[in-house]
Amino acid sequence: MIPAYYHTIMTFTCINILLSLSIGVLAGYAGQVSLGHAAFMAIGAYASAMLTVTFKVSFWLAMPAAALVSAMVGLLLGVIALRLKEDFLAITTMGLNFIVIGVLLYAPYFGKALGIGDIPVPMLFGEEMGRGMYTALCLALVAGVVAAVWWLQRSWIGLAWRGIREAQDVAQVMGVNIAKFKIFAFVISTAIAGIAGSLYAHFLLFITPYDFGFPLSIQILTLAVLGGLGAIRGPVLGAILLTILPEYLRFIQDYRMLTYGLLLVLVMMYQPQGLFGHKSFLTEGLKRLFGGEEKIRGRAA
C-alpha cells in the first residue's frame, strides 16, 4: 500500500504536467507565452465543480465539459491574440488572469471569496474513487494528453505549426492559414488547462478564487520554462522536477516565489531553451555521456 502522501504528490505532479504541457503547446505552436494560465485552470475547475455540485452532473461528463468551457474562452483569447504584438499579448493573458479572478470573487454565482465546497469525489462502478484510483486516472490522462500532443505534432498540423513558429510570413506564402492554426493552438492549450483544473477541483474537493491567482500562473510558467518551452519532453520533465523537488528541499517551499522568480530570471538569461531543450547544457552533457546522437534527439519540436 502506497501512503496517501505519495498519492498527493503524484496527483499534483500529474496536474502540473498537464499545465506545463498546455503552456508548451501554446509556446511551441502559437509562439505565444501565456502569463495567465491559472485563469484557464480556474475556469476548468469552476466549470467542473459547478456542474457536479449545482447541477449534479457526473464527473465523467463534467470534466470534458470543463475542457470545452475553458477551450471556448481560449478561442476568444486566440481571436484577440491575432490583433496583438507578442509582448502585449503576454500582458493581455496576464490581465485575463486578474479579470477571471475578479469575476469569480465579485459575481454572485461563484460563491465569491468562499468558493465552492463539497465537490463530489468521482464515482467509478457505483463507488467513490479511492485516492489510488484517482492518481491512476490522472496518470492515464497525462498519458492520453501526451499521446495526443505527440500525434498532433507529427501530423501535418504540427508541421504547419512549426512553420508558423519558424517564419510566419513564409508559412503563409506556402498556403498556411495563420489565424486558423494559431487559434487552434490556443484551443488545444486551454482545453488541457481546463482538464487540469477539473482534476484539481475533484482532488481537493473545495476551491476558492485565491487558488488560481497570478502567482500560480507564474509557477506554471516556471515549470514549462525550466524544462524548455515547446517540446513535450521539456514541460513534462520541468513539471516533475519542480513538483517533487520542493517536497524534499524544505527551503524551496519556504521561499517558493523567490525560488520560482529567480529560476525564471536565470533560465531565461542563460538557458532560454530550458534545461531539457535543444542544445541545453544538460542535454548536451547527457549526449556526451552516452555518446549516441540518436539516443537523445535534441529536437526542440
Binding site: W156, A160, A171, Q172, V173, G175, K180
Partner: protein
C-alpha cells in the same frame, strides 16, 4: 483559356515613393517571362503584390480570370501560385523533407480534426500522408536532393538551400511560379543546373514562370519574353533580343543620362 495571369494598371506606393506605377502584364500558360531592371526598380514589389504580401493601391490582378489582388497570401497559394525569395526564406530548424512537405500544405485535404486523428497507416489521413510523401520524394529525386533529405536546412550550403526553396515551391504543384533571383550568389556550375531545371519545369510540368534575374545572359537565354522596369514603370516588353536593344533599357542599365524624376 489563353491568359493565365493578367495584371492591369498595377500601382503601389510607399509613403511618397512610387514603387510600382501602372504595370500591365499578360502571361500565357507555359510561358517564362523574365523581369529585369536595376536594383530598386520594383521587381520584388511586383512579386509581393501578386502573391498577396502587399496590397496594391490600384490595379487589377487576375489569375485564371479571377481577381486576386484583395486576397491574403494563403488564399493565393491555394489558387496555385508559389514563389521563392530573393534572400532565402526557409524554415531553418526543419529538415529538408519537412520544408518540402510544408509546401504540400494546400493539398492536405483532411480537416484539422480528421488530420489530428491520424491513427495508423490505413486511415484516410494515413493514406493521404503517404501519397504526399511520395510526391515529395519525386521532387527530391528530380532536384537531386536525396543526400540532404534529412538534414536541417539551416546548415546546408547556399546553393542547396536555393534548391530546397525551389523544391518547396514545386511541392505546391503551382500553375504559376514566381522565382525571385533563383541564381543569385550561385557558382557558374550551379547556375547551369538551375537553368536546366527551370527549362525542365516548363517543358515537362507545364509550369508558367515569372522570373526576376540580374544575370542578363541567363535571363535572355531562358525567357520567352522579357519585361524591363525602372523606377516602378514598365519601359519595355517583348522578345529578349528586342528588349535588350531597346533604347530605354540600355539607358536604364548604362545610365547614359540621369533621368531620375522626383517622386510625385
Amino acid at each position: 483559356m489563353d491568359v493565365l495571369l493578367e495584371i492591369q494598371g498595377l500601382s503601389k506606393n510607399f509613403g511618397g515613393l512610387k514603387a510600382l506605377s501602372n504595370v500591365d502584364i499578360t502571361l500565357k500558360p507555359k510561358e517564362i517571362l523574365g523581369v529585369i531592371g536595376p536594383n530598386g526598380a520594383g521587381k520584388t514589389t511586383l512579386f509581393n503584390c501578386i502573391n498577396g504580401l502587399y496590397r496594391p493601391d490600384s490595379g487589377v490582378i487576375r489569375f485564371e480570370g479571377r481577381p486576386i489582388q484583395a486576397l491574403g497570401p494563403d488564399r493565393i497559394a491555394r489558387l496555385g501560385i508559389a514563389r521563392t525569395f530573393q534572400n532565402i526564406e526557409l524554415f531553418a530548424n526543419m529538415r529538408t523533407m519537412e520544408n518540402i512537405m510544408l509546401g504540400r500544405h494546400v493539398h492536405m485535404r483532411t480537416g484539422i480534426f480528421r488530420g489530428a486523428a491520424m491513427w495508423g497507416r490505413r486511415s484516410f489521413a494515413g493514406r493521404e500522408e503517404r501519397a504526399h510523401r511520395l510526391t515529395v520524394e519525386t521532387i527530391i529525386d528530380l532536384l537531386g536532393l536525396q543526400a540532404v533529405r534529412d538534414k536541417l536546412v539551416g546548415g546546408l550550403p547556399y546553393g542547396t538551400q536555393k534548391l530546397v526553396e525551389l523544391a518547396r515551391a514545386l511541392a505546391l504543384e503551382p500553375r504559376l511560379l514566381l522565382l525571385d533571383e533563383p541564381c543569385a550568389g550561385m557558382t557558374a556550375e550551379e547556375k547551369q543546373d538551375m537553368i536546366f531545371w527551370i527549362k525542365d519545369l516548363q517543358d515537362e510540368l507545364g509550369v508558367t514562370i515569372l522570373l526576376i534575374e540580374h544575370d542578363m545572359r541567363m535571363v535572355m537565354d531562358i525567357s520567352d519574353r522579357i519585361l524591363a522596369i525602372n523606377f516602378g514603370r514598365p519601359i519595355a516588353l517583348g522578345a529578349p533580343e528586342a528588349v535588350r536593344r531597346h533604347p530605354d533599357v540600355l539607358e536604364a542599365y548604362l545610365g547614359k543620362q540621369e533621368r531620375r524624376e522626383p517622386a510625385a
